[in-house]
Every structure is written in C-alpha cells, then in structure tokens.
Symmetry: C2
Amino acid sequence: MKKGLLLVLSGFAGSGKGTIMKSIVEKYDRYALSVSATTRNPRPGEEHGREYFFMDKGEFEELIKNDKLFEYAQYVDNYYGTPKEYVEEQRNAGKDVFLEIEIQGALQIKEAVPDAVLIFVMPPSVAELKKRLVGRGTETADVIERRMKRAGEEAKGVDKYDYLLINDDIDACVEELHGIVLSEHRKVSRNMPTIDKMLDDFSKM
Amino acid sequence: MKKGLLLVLSGFAGSGKGTIMKSIVEKYDRYALSVSATTRNPRPGEEHGREYFFMDKGEFEELIKNDKLFEYAQYVDNYYGTPKEYVEEQRNAGKDVFLEIEIQGALQIKEAVPDAVLIFVMPPSVAELKKRLVGRGTETADVIERRMKRAGEEAKGVDKYDYLLINDDIDACVEELHGIVLSEHRKVSRNMPTIDKMLDDFSKM
C-alpha cells in the first residue's frame, strides 16, 4: 500500500475552497478529510470525530506536550489544532488527506511534513472576490472590508505554496485539483521504492 | 500569452516514449515537438525542419560556438543537437514543447533551463521491457541483451528526473502525461505574474 499524500488547502474567505474540498471527497474515494481537535463546545448536529475531535483544555494541552499535533492555534478562549494520528492513519491506509487551514498553519505543516503539498485557491480576480463576498448578502460592508483587507495580507504568503488554483468554475477546479494530486504521485521523489526495485531487477538479469 | 513549458521525455528503448509523444501531440493542440539539428544526410522521406534541421559540419559548429544549442553530442561521425531558437519560438507562442532525448542530454537541458520538466517513461517491469524487445522480433538476442544492459545503466539516472511515468497502456499514459503538464502550469513558481497582479490589485483597494 503506497502512503497517501498530505494535501493542505488554503484560500481567502469567498474563494470556494470549502465547496471544492467537499466536492472532491464526495467524487473520489481516494480522499479523506483531516479532522481537527478543538476545546470549544460542540454545536447542535456536530459529532465527535466528524466535525471535530472535541476535548477539554487538559486533553488538548497533553497533545501539545507530547508533540501529537502538526500545528495548533488559539482563538478567543479555545484551542484548535491538527492531530497527527488521524492524518497518519488515513495516509497509511493509502488515502490522500486534505487539510483546510490558513497560511500560518499551512507553513507549520510544511515544516513538520516537508513532502506535504500546499495548494492555494483564488477567485479569478480581486474584483470577483469582493463581488462574491457582497453577493452572499450576509455580511455588513464593514465585515466585507475587513475580509478584503485580511485577504490582501494573506495573499502576501501565496509564494510559499506549491500550487495556485483559480476557482472560476467549481467542477473544473475539482478536476484540476485531482490532476495535481495524480501528478504529485508521479513524482520521482515519491517513487523511490519502485525505482530501487527496478534497479534491483536489472542487476539480477 | 503565457510561455509554454520545456518538457523533456526519456525512456529505455521499448518504453513506448516515441508513441506517447506522437499521440499526445496529435491529440492536443497545445503541444509542439522540438526539432533536432544533425549533420547526417537526410533519408528518403525526411524533410528539413520536420524530422531534423539538416546542416553541414561548419554550420553545426557555428551553432556550438555561438551557444545556440541546449545540448549536442557526436555519434559515429555526425553531430546531433537541440537548437534553442526553434524551441524558444514555440514556447513564446504558448506551446508546451516536447523534447525526446537520452539521459545525458536531459541533464544538460536541465542545467541550461532549470524550469524544464524531466519525465522518464518506464515499462511496468524489467521483465515486461525484455518481453517487448523480444516481441518486436527484429532484434537478435545479442542486440536485446545489449539494450537491456544499457537500460540498466540508464536506470541509475532516473532519480535526476522530475516524474516517473509507467507505460502500461498508451492512452492512459498519454492522459497522465497531459495531467502532469496541466499541473506544472499550476505551480506557484510559474504563476508569479498572476500573483503580483493580484497583490497590486489588493493594494489599490
């Protein structure tokens, strides 16, 4: 069983990254989603091990102490983090695992797992991003302005990513993402056992 | 117009790389084949600028002197090389250009063009490679043995390549190769102008 990839997906609010991930996981069996750990309380309908691994502060800090998280952060009074164990279990079962995370977390992951693949999803243009945020009709002008400002800040880190995906059309974007994953599997650096086996077979001729 | 990629394809005799290249160029408009230069005489049916750029020794040595070749080599009494001009013309016209070449040449190209993509085509196994060579029925046992030995030598350089393509089925292999090219175009390092434009647009908001 070939080990699966660790795929890190980031993108501005309004980039459509959530929809892309949901859609690719539904369409292809080979993918799994990482499940984060958090100390916040479950909301109605949320399930332990599906939306999050829910735990108390003590348990979370135990994970930190024992280096069992790829990365973690604190928002307001709660911890959020990515447990290594679940991701590695899935990868060892041959699954390519998606992890949706913002840029700081993504760069921490890249440090911990150098062969992780970092993908940044962008709308076709800055104007289109603003249009999408306004079009939702759920945010005030003030919130939209803050999101745009934050996107501008985040955009400065895009050059640390491996791939740039322009989300003009969800289906096309899902196919492109799938293509990137298949190509990554074809990289020589990910196929050294196959190559070593071949060299060995040649030497026996 | 985004500049096309330089795609270097190598593989053992019997890997099917020639068929793959012919097939992908016929199937998709975006590709062009590099045309080599040679001092050998044209064979019946060969055309200048299609199979090769045919030239005399003086002309070829002029190209060498003026650094107009990505790489060149001498076989028997003839020169063979890859003129830069034709490849760059095609790339500037937005074409992804394929170049079929053995490993020494491929590594020279990578040195001259660091963003070239090196792809190695392999049969599914060493046993299958031998079967294909024998199956052709055109070679003596002696020639086959020499080819296998040479393949074993070449295989030691595979780790210098970017991608490994297993040719089990030509059509599937063509699609995988096409997928690799599309993914390469999505690399952040190949999209800096798009990213710079976006950063600029954000700064103007």
